[in-house]
Symmetry: none
Subunit: 218 residues, 4 copies
């Protein structure tokens, strides 16, 4: 067999790559357009495939070349969000050196994700939250993994005696509710600015240090 890489072969390969690239591009374009429309249209209910198609400048039919159906597209939008969400939470965990610091940083990461990705956040946690628990082939970092990070941090803190002896689930739910409440307040009502949201989150955390956690911080 001829192992030489001929010009023809190179061309074919290149064409293949370009095509692959284009394919990825259009996929990404569609996803972006979908997110944009969510933002504009005020969310879930007005969202339609045809609008997405118009937004990207392709025919509605074309969407079906990249996504199985409307729900598949939505699912990918959501998972795209969860991927980044998981990374941010993990980064928060990694950046902390003590259990309590980790909890604080995870909370901040959560808050920052919500503030910087309001549309995604809305969709992920408020409109299609059932998707949180759907498996998507090829996607390992689902929300479940993200919460594993939070649970791990709580677990460590409990084990090392930093927390009053409430059950683990109470802490995860409570801490989640803390940040979720603030994010949702900002996103849904626009009553507070992102800066205020951060300030309130700091206060919220501070009260925990004296009111919830067993050992006061030095």
């Amino acid at each position: 067999m001829n192992q030489v890489v001929t010009r023809q072969k190179r061309t074919q390969q290149k064409s293949l790559e370009r095509r692959e690239q284009q394919k990825t591009d259009l996929r990404a374009l569609i996803l972006q357009a979908a997110v944009r429309l969510f933002e504009a249209g005020g969310g879930y209910e007005q969202f339609s495939l045809r609008q997405v198609a118009e937004e990207v400048g392709y025919s509605p039919t074309t969407i079906y070349l990249y996504f199985k159906d409307k729900d598949d597209l939505l699912l990918h939008v959501v998972f795209e969000g969860f991927r980044e969400f998981g990374q941010m939470l993990q980064a928060g965990y990694d950046a902390g050196t003590t259990p309590l610091e980790r909890l604080r940083l995870i909370g901040q990461a959560y808050l920052e994700f919500g503030l910087s990705h309001p549309v995604h956040y809305r969709l992920m946690f408020m409109q299609r939250s059932e998707m949180m628990f759907q498996k998507l082939e090829g996607h390992l970092h689902t929300v479940v993994d993200s919460f594993a990070v939070l649970q791990a941090a709580v677990h460590e803190a409990l084990e090392q005696g930093f927390l009053a002896p409430y059950p683990l689930e109470v802490y995860t739910a409570l801490l989640w509710a803390d940040v979720h409440g603030i994010v949702a307040l900002q996103i849904s009502t626009g009553q507070i600015t992102p800066e205020q949201a951060r300030a309130i989150n700091d206060v919220s955390w501070a009260r925990n240090l004296t009111g919830l956690l067993a050992r006061p911080q030095p």
Copy 2:
């Protein structure tokens, strides 16, 4: 000008009143049906004018005699929710004897409203939250008034030295976020049961007493 009230005029007036009465009645019927369907149907997107019409036993066209359009009807549904919401918060305020107790009871009332009216809560605070700040003629008890109750309670508590000297807005936002977070967690994700929601709310409040509030309760 003829100032005499003729029999004819009196008759007309009476007919007008009766009509007005009927009008109000059907209005109320439509609104009730709308609320019912709204709660039953699971909310915003499935809600249709035709279903409402069928529910009340009138033709779809008739709805337009009482409400400008679908959104107008929806707006009134929302305000119907706010009316009850405001009453429950007010009742919480009234039931308390000290500022802190009032805050606690308002929080509980908020939580109970959310748990017992999830569909409404969703619409009011998560899907069409912009409606919170729309004025609707004839409706005095909007969400703004509801928050006036919370603000009043916070104001009293601050003035009487029960709270650490953070700005009033921080407290209202924080306390709101606390309960909103828990309610939203329950409604959106279904990860916690109503009972757990209440328990977490109690823990959340307890931590405030030692960690956030200046003077411990007697």
Copy 3:
């Protein structure tokens, strides 16, 4: 109460009747158009609601005011056919004086229906034959009743010794197959003319008199 029939009342009544008439008219128009399209389009598969709408000159939506959905329209088309079919078979039965004459006349009536309503026949017996056994509210004369006529005639003939002692079901199926075969041959293939179809049917019947039936006719 005023029992007098006022002009107003008469007008209302008239308007109601006219409307009712119009409604019936449009319904009938739609049904006719549907049948016509069946003829033109070559049948079942190309048949679409939108085409029907275009044919009658109304918007597609309007069809839904008169029929629940596509299948409902089809069902009514079919039942419209069965109504006449049943009447023709019954007339055949009634016209005969002896059991065998009745059988012959029923067969001829069947044949004539098929020859004069090929599109309906096709739909009823060849394309959506499962509809034969569906009940439609308000329609009493379904195909089942039609076949009751055939069965009754066979039963009489058997009882009075005109037929060789095969089971009743064999006769009904065989006689049905006889005429159905001829009709279908004419409709589907166009290989024989209606006249030839009648001639063949006569031969078919004649052979029965000597080959199938117990007693020869006088």
Copy 4:
């Protein structure tokens, strides 16, 4: 002109043959898949090119290299049916030793084809019967040839005095109608089982021996 067969030419020819061979192979594969899907899917309306493409593992576009369009493919599916149909009828003819036996066996073969290939039968004789008389290049055994078999058998029987002296066309049509009626009854209405269909066919034939045919069988 250069009459010499160069090596180059021979090579080209060979390549052409191979290609031709491959082409035929894929063609056959597609046709088989189409027939399979056709029989499985329940026929005409659910049948789609894309499904065929998926079934053979090639892209939809590829189908167009072998068949002009969907209808062309369908036409070949039909002729595929006629090929087997013709073979079965011919086998019936060949298996008989007397004219009447041949007629009987041809009828049985017809019946068996219908019972074992209901979907095909439906398409061939009931839905797209116009295809029966379309010429398709390369296909010699069309329905016309199949009927030639029937006609030949009738002709022999007439000539040898086995049949009453009706015209030949009457016999072919009548015998066709006999079996077609039974098959269609089974396929379209499902009112009789295949076994019953065979039994009725036997009765039908038996009546002919005494009622239609000139000389009784020995």
